[in-house]
């Protein structure tokens, strides 16, 4: 997998732009503070370090064919992510990466692709969407199912609108709680699966969301006829070193930072079903 430098070496990156997506989620564009290249595969993540506060793993949400500026979309939930949110244009942070496994975008060629995102799960899938759209003719049907808590929580609304307008991509959105004026679907994202048009025997599914949502999604994909080996999930476990040394991110016999975060469900199912692993 693509790693640009020694994985323990932190590189300074400067914030070029920062934008608030929703009340708790923001997107940052970063560029190397010195000179430097950067490449990544869709699904990979970086460790972002806010000086004096700490480090967090955040997936890359930009276009792999145009990797700089480096794009990260983050939900501010705790100590480091809230500190990250306070940074401004011109500030510098530390970055290590990219780390981890990638979405099976190459293996999916010639097949239908179903992408299921829940909440903050869309950013880690966005690079895969870009890559598939850039080589659209090499895939069969392309389905994106996206669920969020409320219409105000939907990320990248303009881009979703553009994708919805394409004839070569089926985009369906649903929210858990409608607000006034919402005329779209209400209900969790799993409900969209039975109505999605794809060939379950010749498809690859990629999903990200809270573990509970992924469990229900997997069950519905299986009901639709998909095999476990064709269902890919991204696991988000707490991390410290990011390079397989500390054991913080252990999930069964594997370390999410090094063997994941993207796994075929076939390899992770016994561990995903267990609580508190």
């Amino acid at each position: 997998m693509a790693t640009n430098q020694d994985s323990m070496t932190m590189r300074p990156f400067r914030i070029r732009r920062t934008a608030q997506d929703t009340y708790d989620t923001f997107t940052m564009e970063l560029e190397p503070a010195g000179s430097g290249e950067f490449t990544f595969a869709p699904g990979q993540f970086n460790m972002l370090y806010v000086f004096g506060v700490g480090e967090v793993p955040i997936s890359i949400s930009g276009d792999p064919t145009d990797p700089l500026p480096l794009i990260h979309t983050t939900r501010a939930v705790g100590t480091v992510t809230k500190a990250l949110q306070k940074l401004k244009k011109g500030d510098v942070l530390g970055m290590r990466g990219p780390f981890g496994s990638a979405w099976p975008v190459e293996q999916a060629k010639g097949k239908d692709v179903v992408i299921v995102a829940g909440g903050i799960g869309l950013p880690p899938l966005r690079p895969a969407i870009y890559q598939i759209l850039a080589n659209r003719e090499e895939y069969g049907k392309f389905v994106l199912l996206y669920g969020a808590r409320t219409p105000d929580d939907l990320l990248f609304p303009k881009e979703l609108e553009q994708w919805r307008g394409r004839f070569d991509m089926d985009v369906t959105i649903t929210v858990d709680r409608a607000t006034d004026g919402w005329l779209g679907n209400v209900g969790v994202v799993t409900r969209l699966i039975p109505k999605a048009v794809f060939d379950p025997k010749n498809a690859v599914a990629m999903l990200v969301g809270p573990e509970i949502m992924m469990r229900f999604t997997i069950a519905d994909l299986q009901k639709a006829g998909m095999a476990d080996k064709d269902i890919y999930v991204s696991m988000e476990r707490n991390m410290k070193c990011g390079v397989g040394l500390c054991g913080h991110c252990q999930c069964g016999p594997s370390f999410v930072c090094k063997d994941g975060p993207v796994y075929s469900y076939e390899t992770i199912r016994d561990w995903m079903r267990k609580r508190e692993i």
Binding site: R177, V186, G187, V188, F216
Partner: protein, 151 residues
């Protein structure tokens, strides 16, 4: 003249049902249309009908005195609205509202219940087809409770 028979026979819920039962049901069926915002049924109404959506979409709402109307699920083409007609005392649970102009087939459930009393096999077939719908609605409410995107 086009009858509702092929439409009923093709509907996902009634697919595979004995054609003689489809014929029986056509006798209880009619086409209906609802305007955007129109209530199709209200909580506590007598449950003497159900609907097969043909176009448009509807919201299933529950009312909370503190939170107001909460939509827990929307239904579209190919889905069924209403299961309370099958379970005594035949009272509707929650409100159903058209989100867009919605066309549906209305089935007179009183008429269908009468046919069921004469034919237990038909009743059994309908139960088999409606229990999954009830489960689906329970699941939708459970998902709401779980707040799946919060963690």
């Amino acid at each position: 003249m086009e009858t509702l028979e092929p439409i009923l026979a093709e509907h996902p819920v009634f697919k595979g049902l004995d054609p003689q039962y489809i014929k029986l049901m056509v006798g209880c069926a009619s086409n209906v249309r609802f305007n955007q915002g129109e209530f199709i049924t209200r909580d506590g109404d007598q449950a003497d009908e159900f609907y097969l959506i043909r176009a448009g979409s509807v919201a299933l709402d529950v009312y909370s005195p503190t939170k107001g109307e909460i939509t827990y699920l929307t239904l579209r083409e190919g889905e069924v609205v209403g299961w309370s007609w099958l379970v005594s005392p035949y009272r509707v649970h929650g409100d159903v509202r058209a989100i867009q102009i919605t066309r549906a087939i209305r089935i007179d459930a009183k008429c269908l219940r009468e046919k069921c009393t004469k034919d237990p096999q038909l009743e059994l077939e309908l139960y088999k087809r409606f229990v999954p719908i009830i489960v689906d609605r329970v699941e939708a409410m459970t998902m709401q409770l779980l707040d799946v995107y919060s963690d």
